[in-house]
């Protein structure tokens, strides 16, 4: 029930962000500012509406809800999610490392290279924190 209310609030928030984008656009604000607002608003609104609609459909069709819960809680599906996440993490680390080298090779500003390197370091720190947490 609480989640339901949250999705309604989130969809309202998404709509408000889009309206703010339109309002600022009419006031002559640059697309650099309004663009991210449209994107963020659309994302939040879309995601919330999908969740609201799927919950309404689930209420009307308990069998569908049961199927969905089985799919979500199925241990093999969970295992596949973990494995996929881990593979993506490993690929991301290589991609970020490559980006760091490329940014240096292309002579991009130092803060850009440092930012990407920072993400790699943060990723690694988080990896060890969670690994330690889950191994307890």
């Amino acid at each position: 029930m609480l989640k339901n209310k949250l999705y309604y609030v989130m969809s309202l928030l998404g709509a408000l962000i889009i309206i703010l984008g339109i309002y600022l656009s009419q006031k002559g604000a640059s697309a650099n500012y309004t663009g991210p607002l449209y994107g963020l608003g659309s994302g939040i609104l879309g995601l919330s509406l999908v969740n609201i609609i799927s919950r309404l459909l689930a209420k009307k069709n308990p069998e569908l809800e049961k199927r969905k819960n089985i799919e979500v809680n199925d241990e093999r599906n969970k295992f596949l999610h973990y494995k996929t996440g881990n593979t993506i993490y490993n690929i991301n680390i290589y991609m970020l490392s490559l980006l760091t080298f490329l940014s240096v090779a292309l002579g991009l500003p130092l803060y850009f290279s440092a930012l990407i390197a920072g993400v790699i370091i943060l990723d690694s720190i988080l990896y060890f924190i969670f690994f330690y947490k889950y191994s307890k």
């Binding site: 089985i70 241990e75 093999r76």
Partner: protein
């Protein structure tokens, strides 16, 4: 890991979907276990053991 899941399921005359429904797992999981592509957790192995009323080692064959 090899197993006799398909044999025991067929002995009971139930489909993969029916077994999946009884154990609240997906049909794909039943299929993957039967084909040896996925080794179930110990919890699911016990569920299968209780469902077929057989010992775990009668259903699954451990090979080093």
């Amino acid at each position: 890991m090899k197993n006799y899941l398909e044999k025991f399921r067929k002995e009971l005359g139930i489909t993969q979907s029916e077994l999946a429904d009884k154990l609240s797992i997906s049909r794909q999981t039943v299929s993957s276990i039967e084909n040896g592509r996925y080794d179930p957790s110990i919890t699911l192995a016990f569920k299968l053991s209780f469902f077929f009323n057989r010992k775990i080692e009668e259903i699954f064959i451990y090979e080093e």
